[in-house]
């Protein structure tokens, strides 16, 4: 590609700004162990990353992003608070015909600081906004923490909440579960029959009757789930107003102040989300304190839900307003859940983001 050098220059200009903001440069390997990424992201990553085979190290992936190796490096030997930056190629298999590059440069910034998450969110966003200001991009923000808080606040069993939390990033299944738990869609007839049968007979008997048990999943595991299904059938549906509140929440799309108002409306029916809404408000204040025109920010409550299972709090993106065909020029967010998985229970609050310099270049570049 003839403009590679130009794109590299855009990336280095951004990198300089990240370093000036106090970030230490890290340089992770291109080949990453596939097992970690697969465990984290699931089968979808296989469709999106290049997988290759090493006779000794086993299955490896060409890094689809920097976040995982940076988090791992920080966990191995970092002290908090820490700021990191990185620059280099990432590799993504693209949908055939999408026309998107499968190899491109990312430059990123990650902040590990658990003392004041809202302030850390604002620091990262303001840094990106400052660098990108000359480009006239349209910023969008979201907060998956509010949606998570809404699930936590439902008056229902932990089992149902777990199921919903697990599918925050899969809107279609999330909605189907919500409809089921709200009693709007009846359980499938086979489930109803199973529950009926399990009321009068032990689950182990039903399993034995169905046929020889093959595979790793034990009769005990099956019986456990049958009991859970019976318990679920006996549980009352989630109340209509609570379901409607979550639905209303998911559709909020407004300027930040109006969005905040609508979040407050939702909190009337789901009082449990009030702390998350307060946090959202404090974040807007922290952004304003850093010189961001928070009133002009576009807020989408469902923003960031269809990315890889990844962000679980504040999320943001910067878009070229007149080029809706392009991916965001920059995007990022908070990913505490990811550090919890990578740290085997030890969570490190983390927020960060990346810039795609080839889009900066395409849109005319940063002023020199």
């Amino acid at each position: 590609m003839s403009n590679r050098a130009d794109i590299r220059r855009e990336a280095e200009a951004v990198l300089e700004r990240f370093r000036a903001a106090g970030a230490e440069l890290v340089d992770p390997d291109i080949l990453q162990p596939a097992a970690t990424l697969l465990d984290l992201y699931g089968e979808d990553i296989r469709a999106r990353a290049y997988v290759t085979q090493d006779p000794v190290r086993g299955e490896l992936m060409l890094r689809p992003d920097f976040t995982v190796p940076v988090v791992q490096a920080h966990m191995a030997n970092g002290a908090e608070p820490a700021r990191y930056t990185y620059i280099g190629e990432v590799f993504r298999r693209q949908e055939a015909g999408s026309g998107r590059a499968s190899e491109y440069i990312q430059v990123g910034f990650e902040l590990f600081d658990g003392r004041d998450p809202v302030a850390a969110d604002a620091e990262v966003f303001a840094l990106f906004a400052g660098i990108l200001a000359p480009m006239g991009l349209r910023p969008a923000i979201g907060d998956i923490g509010v949606l998570r808080a809404a699930v936590d606040a439902l008056t229902t069993s932990e089992r149902r909440k777990d199921a919903l939390r697990r599918h925050l990033w899969r809107p279609r299944r999330f909605r189907a579960l919500l409809e089921r738990f709200g009693g709007r869609t009846p359980p499938p007839p086979t489930r109803a029959r199973l529950v009926e049968a399990a009321r009068s007979r032990p689950a182990a008997e039903l399993v034995a009757e169905a046929g020889p048990l093959v595979g790793l999943r034990t009769a005990e595991e099956i019986a456990e789930r049958v009991e859970a299904l019976v318990a679920d059938a006996d549980e009352p549906p989630v109340a209509g107003p609570e379901i409607e509140a979550i639905e209303a929440l998911m559709t909020i799309r407004a300027k930040a102040p109006a969005g905040l108002g609508r979040l407050r409306d939702v909190a009337v029916d789901l009082p449990g989300i009030a702390p998350a809404v307060d946090r959202f408000e404090r974040r807007l204040e922290a952004l304003a304190a850093r010189g961001i025109d928070a009133e002009a920010l576009e807020f989408e409550a469902s923003y960031g839900r269809t990315t890889l299972e990844y962000y679980d709090g504040f999320v943001f993106g910067f878009y070229a307003g007149d080029r809706p065909d392009l991916p965001p020029v920059a995007s990022g967010g908070r990913y505490d859940a990811l550090t919890r998985v990578l740290g085997a229970g030890r969570a490190i609050p983390a927020v960060g983001g990346i810039v795609r310099p080839e889009l900066l270049h395409l849109l005319g570049g940063l002023p020199r």
Binding site: R172, R173, G215
Partner: protein, 238 residues
């Protein structure tokens, strides 16, 4: 200046393909010795028959090395990215019916739908420390289906044959495979999920949009389609 028609090189698929063309006045037959992969067509001008492994026909169509080919819908959709932009359906042939389905052990009385499978996958991962394994050779189709349905916490394990046996052999917890009668699935103590139908497949005559279609070949194609009493597909690029 001929049209190349790729036909499965052996077995029932070949015989039935010959029958289908024969019933429409185009006699395909093998030539040479019994073991030689050669065939000819009578009753259609400028038609060259190429005997190929059914597995390779999608690739040859995608590359435009053959103009027409007979293979299963399942293989075309699995093996050719953006298949509909590169391949045209000419006619379903009415045989080789098979469904790509997801099946789990019959003793899983608590599992009947994808919703169940998803819930079990989550519990399985907590209990066993790894993702529930689904054995298949249809990676693309299965992954796209499960993603669209929002099923998580599974992994695909490659299985190129005897897939129904993987569960008993403890190398998978569930399978996604092609079945026509379901007999092999039942014999291996498995059952199909009620909403686990990924694709209905059938032997089909396909045309390669990117093969060389000059005026003469397009005329030959026109004549062949008239003979076979099927509509000429659109999108063949000269």
């Amino acid at each position: 200046m001929t049209l190349k028609l790729g036909v499965p090189s052996k077995g029932r698929l070949m015989d039935k393909t010959f029958d289908w063309f024969g019933a429409r006045g185009v006699a395909l037959r093998r030539t040479g010795t019994e073991r030689e992969y050669a065939a000819a067509a009578e009753g259609a001008d400028n038609l060259e028959v190429v005997l190929l492994s059914a597995n390779e026909i999608p690739r040859e169509l995608a590359a435009g090395r053959i103009h027409l080919g007979v293979t299963g819908t399942d293989l075309v959709r699995e093996k050719i990215p953006l298949w509909s932009t590169r391949i045209a359906d000419v006619a379903p042939l009415g045989f080789g019916h098979a469904d790509l389905v997801i099946a789990v052990p019959r003793a899983w009385v608590d599992v009947d739908t994808l919703d169940d499978l998803d819930a079990v996958a989550a519990a399985f991962r907590r209990r066993h420390g790894f993702r529930l394994r689904i054995a298949t050779k249809y990676h693309r189709l299965v992954r796209e289906f499960l993603r669209a349905e929002g099923v998580a916490d599974y992994q695909l394990i490659d299985s190129q044959g005897a897939t129904e046996g993987t569960v008993k052999n403890l190398t998978a917890e569930a399978i996604a495979d092609i079945t026509s009668t379901g007999e092999t699935i039942r014999a291996n103590h498995l059952k199909v999920l009620s909403d686990g139908l990924i694709l209905k497949s059938e032997a089909t005559l396909f045309a390669a949009k990117d093969a060389q279609w000059d005026a003469r070949r397009l005329r030959a194609m026109e004549a062949l389609c008239a003979r076979l009493d099927v509509e000429r597909p659109s999108g063949l690029r000269p």
